[in-house]
């Protein structure tokens, strides 16, 4: 087990280097740089002041040297400061000489995106298991068809269109849910239960819209997994032994069908993080997606590279955790590793 773990972690090193290389060179496809956005084309901005900026950020050095300088720093988890004039640290907060804390950009955005994605994943899993099992049990009958059809419908709706219609219906017309933002403006004055309810109200629509698109893949995965397991020998043995059908389905089969879902968790992370761009801008949620999109448009290289690297790192990490828990949960794999 330990060897497996070590091997697994060792693999991550070349992968991280690969990721950093890819993200770095994508950045340099860009002909634009931060100085071009300076003062938003103000007629009074001078070329000298732009040149000053370029020198400060090493933008005039050769790419290879820029990469070297950058890699050296990110090994120490130093992702630098944003190019934008607020100069916030990309990853983690820092203190200035007077002890004032300047919040890190990813530090603030990541927990929000993670929170939304974890809730989304949990809900997707719960519903998918229910839907997938039902579909498998009623294979090719009406409930199966209905479920398949509806999960695809959920996948096929353009997310932002649905989001805007839901906002209009529940936020503007009915006024039962907040339209945008993460907290109400009086959040600080609420009791802790009030805060919790406030947060749930704000997250309800964003989570709902992102759930819909994720449901199809995973519920079909469960359905097909169930179908495969239901045909396996040990299930037939159980059936032959006279174990009742419900128990066969919900105990023996489901357990075996759900297990591979663990590996899906790791694989879903990049999709979920990436998919957050649109939802976060509609619902005005200051998460990773919005941060990334703004940084791309601003040519804010440190932030773009920071997010790509951290996002990929999280995926690798998620995969690692998933593999390990899979190994621990599945007796066959576990034995093989010992």
């Amino acid at each position: 087990m330990l060897i497996y773990l070590l091997k697994r972690i060792m693999w991550m090193v070349p992968m991280l280097i690969g990721i950093s290389l890819i993200s770095f060179f994508i950045m340099h496809l860009a002909p634009g740089d931060i100085t071009s956005n300076e003062a938003a084309f103000n007629p009074k901005a001078s070329e000298e002041s732009r040149q000053k900026l370029r020198e400060l950020y090493n933008l005039d050095k050769p790419i290879a040297i820029q990469y070297g300088l950058w890699l050296k720093r990110i090994i120490k988890l130093d992702f630098g400061e944003s190019f934008a004039s607020h100069h916030r640290p990309v990853l983690w907060e820092k203190k200035d000489q007077n002890g004032n804390v300047v919040p890190g950009m990813i530090q603030k955005a990541l927990p929000i995106t993670l929170l939304i994605n974890v809730i989304t994943l949990l809900i997707i899993f719960l519903i998918s298991i229910l839907l997938g099992t039902t579909a498998a049990v009623f294979k090719n009958k009406i409930p199966d068809r209905l479920i398949t059809f509806s999960v695809f419908l959920g996948f096929a709706i353009p997310g932002f269109w649905l989001a805007l219609m839901l906002i209009y219906w529940l936020g503007v017309n009915e006024q039962i849910l907040p339209i945008s933002g993460l907290h109400s403006l009086d959040y600080e004055n609420l009791s802790s239960i009030g805060k919790f309810i406030d947060l749930i109200k704000h997250l309800f629509l964003p989570v709902l819209t992102s759930c819909l698109s994720g449901l199809a893949g995973i519920s079909l995965f469960v359905r097909n997994g169930m179908l495969e397991v239901l045909n396996k020998d040990f299930i037939n043995t159980a059936r032959a032994k006279g174990v009742n059908e419900k128990k066969v389905i919900y105990y023996h089969s489901l357990r075996n069908a759900i297990l591979p879902l663990i590996t899906i968790v790791g694989l879903s992370i990049p999709g979920l993080i990436g998919g957050s761009v649109i939802a976060e801008s509609i619902f005005a949620i200051p998460g990773m997606g919005k941060l990334f999109y703004d940084a791309v448009l601003m040519r804010d290289f440190p932030v773009v590279m920071g997010i790509l690297t951290i996002g990929s790192f999280l995926t690798l990490f998620g995969n690692l955790i998933a593999d390990i828990s899979y190994a621990l949960a599945d007796p066959r794999v576990r034995k093989g590793l010992m």
Binding site: A30, P31, G32, S36, N37, E38, A39, A40, N42, P43, K44, A45, S46, E47, S49, R50, K52, L53, L56, A84, S85, H86, H87, N98, N100, V102, P103, K108, A109, I127, L131, T134, L164, I167, Y168, G171, E174, Q175, I176, L177, I179, S180, G181, L182, H183, L185, D186, I197, K201, F204, S281, I282, F283, A284, P286, K290, D294, L297, M298, R299
Partner: protein, 543 residues
């Protein structure tokens, strides 16, 4: 499973349906006493970068910083210069020295006195080569600055500089005692500023909102509305949803919302007052004058004749704009209203093109010895500009000019095309400052990469006029200079002026004291002094 899901939804519906509905279809008409208090809520598309405006350079930052900091001078509602930190000023007889007499007994929000030292310090900061500000050049023209005493600030220019006073109406005065030992480019002060104006920063929640509260030490007196919250809502459709749900007190809206949506929606009409004012910029169709066919003035004139500007105004702005003939705010002093505009005349356009030896080919496109009359219009992602380009394309196609359109995201637009001069024509806009000086845009020396005369306009007479205009302090003579400049530009057609649109705003009716129609300086000019929320309409909110 469905049951569980709906139970889930249902629970939420119950738990949330108590608030928000309590003041529907309220009547906001009538006269009300002025009142201190209340909270004003608005939204912005992006988060401010840095509340030191000279460093930040983005509009969200200037909007917030403008409520916190003061300037030496300011414009009154009729756009005349008047004092703010300075109570008066005097020009020396050689026109090179300006003496500012400051108000006395001014204090920063932290009660430290505001004196000439702060102004001198601000000048030092903005002209310091280490300071990463795009605005330095104006202040670098000041050869010498000094504080004669705590309340007299004297500056001397190398030679008379006409836009000087205007530049002192935009520079935010910074507190020396807070910043003298700080690196201005990277100081925590930019997130936690100390100012001297109506408001001070109360709270800044990254990515969510900024809130301001009354600065008791404000040198301009106390604002009526005691708190302002600016939420960050990136998507404009979400912003409009928030407005529809009365969660925002004002928002700038587009012509379709103004003309089509508001008239159809009773609730919106009941709650919001619509407001229309002269905008701060104009949209033009500009040519790369070094390239064919734009180096030919008759082709430029023909293009002008072939474009139906009224149609663009009707289509893009739903009529909420007007044609302009000189690059100044219409109906203001500097605008040359004597220039008569060319009328839409496609036949005359064709005649002009044909006079240059072009003939229609089999595809109905003009050509001359194999040279087709064909070019690309470049514009950035801005719905109105896109639509304008589409309308121009259609009209030019009708007379036999083949036009394609390319729409680009701002950064690549500027870097790949404008800076490198790799474009044929652009639909773009210029914003207008209150001083008529346009040296940066039209002078032939200003055509380097990254400079603003990227269309390569080169006209000896205009160069001379722009140079003279900068040194002429007599306002009548100055007006003559810029009138002549406007005439030449309109005659030469380096760009075709398309329209100046109205600024459109929806403002909640619970807010009173708004001047409608707005004064020349605009709806939001000194809103702190005028706007108030009658006690009856102050919502149940924490302060």
């Amino acid at each position: 499973m469905n049951k569980i899901f709906f139970l889930f939804v249902f629970l939420f519906l119950i738990s949330c349906s108590d608030n928000n509905k309590n003041y529907q279809s309220k009547n906001y008409e009538g006269k009300y006493e002025k009142h201190y208090g209340g909270t004003l809520k608005n939204a912005m598309v992006g988060e401010p970068n840095n509340l030191i405006a000279m460093i930040a350079g983005d509009s969200a930052s200037s909007a917030i910083a403008g409520k916190i900091f003061n300037t030496l001078l300011t414009y009154d509602e009729n756009l005349n210069l008047t004092g703010e930190v300075a109570k008066s000023w005097k020009l020396s007889s050689d026109k090179k020295t300006i003496t500012f007499y400051l108000n006395t007994k001014m204090h920063w929000a932290d009660s430290v006195p505001l004196t000439c030292k702060d102004i001198f310090f601000t000048w030092k900061v903005v002209t310091n080569p280490e300071t990463r500000t795009p605005y330095a050049s104006d202040y670098q023209l000041v050869k010498k600055a000094e504080c004669k005493d705590d309340h007299t600030f004297i500056i001397t220019y190398q030679e008379p500089y006409a836009p000087a006073l205007d530049t002192w109406a935009t520079l935010h005065i910074l507190p020396k005692h807070k910043l003298e030992h700080e690196d201005i480019n990277n100081t925590f002060f930019s997130r936690n500023p100390t100012g001297s104006s109506f408001y001070k920063l109360k709270e800044w929640v990254p990515g969510q909102y900024l809130s301001l509260e009354t600065n008791e030490n404000s040198i301009l007196g106390k604002p009526f509305i005691s708190k302002m919250i600016s939420r960050i809502i990136p998507d404009l459709s979400s912003q409009f949803m928030e407005l529809s749900a009365e969660n925002l007190d004002f928002m700038s809206i587009n012509p379709i919302q103004y003309k089509r949506i508001f008239p159809e929606r009773k609730d919106l009409n009941n709650n919001y007052e619509l407001n229309k004012e002269l905008g701060n910029g104009y949209t033009y169709f500009g040519f790369n004058l070094q390239k064919k066919p734009f180096n030919n003035i008759n082709i430029r004139k023909a293009i002008d004749l072939a474009i139906n500007k009224q149609e663009i105004i009707d289509g893009v702005l739903l009529g909420l704009g007007f044609e302009i003939t000189s690059p100044y705010k219409p109906e203001t002093f500097w605008y040359n209203s004597n220039i008569s505009k060319t009328n839409f005349n496609p036949d005359e356009a064709k005649r002009l093109i044909e006079s240059e030896g072009f003939k229609l080919n089999e595809k109905n496109i003009y050509s001359r010895n194999g040279e087709l009359l064909k070019f690309e219009i470049l514009t950035n992602q801005n719905k109105q500009r896109e639509m304008t380009a589409v309308l121009i394309q259609r009209r030019l196609k009708e007379i036999g000019v083949d036009v394609s359109i390319r729409v680009l995201e701002w950064a690549s637009f500027i870097n790949q095309y404008i800076k490198t001069g790799d474009f044929e024509s652009v639909v773009l806009g210029w914003s207008l400052s209150l001083d008529p000086d346009q040296f940066n845009i039209w002078h032939s020396t200003q055509n380097g990469p990254g400079q603003f005369n990227f269309i390569n306009f080169n006209n000896k007479r205009v160069d001379k006029l722009l140079e003279r205009g900068r040194k002429e302090l007599d306002i009548k003579k100055r007006k003559q200079i810029y009138d002549e400049f406007s005439e030449i530009i309109y005659e030469e057609k380096p760009v075709i002026f398309l329209y100046a649109g109205y600024g459109l705003n929806a403002i909640h009716k619970r807010i009173k004291g708004i001047k409608n129609p707005p004064p020349p300086a605009g709806t939001f000019h000194f809103m702190e002094k005028n706007w108030y929320i009658p006690s009856k309409f102050i919502r149940n909110e924490i302060n």
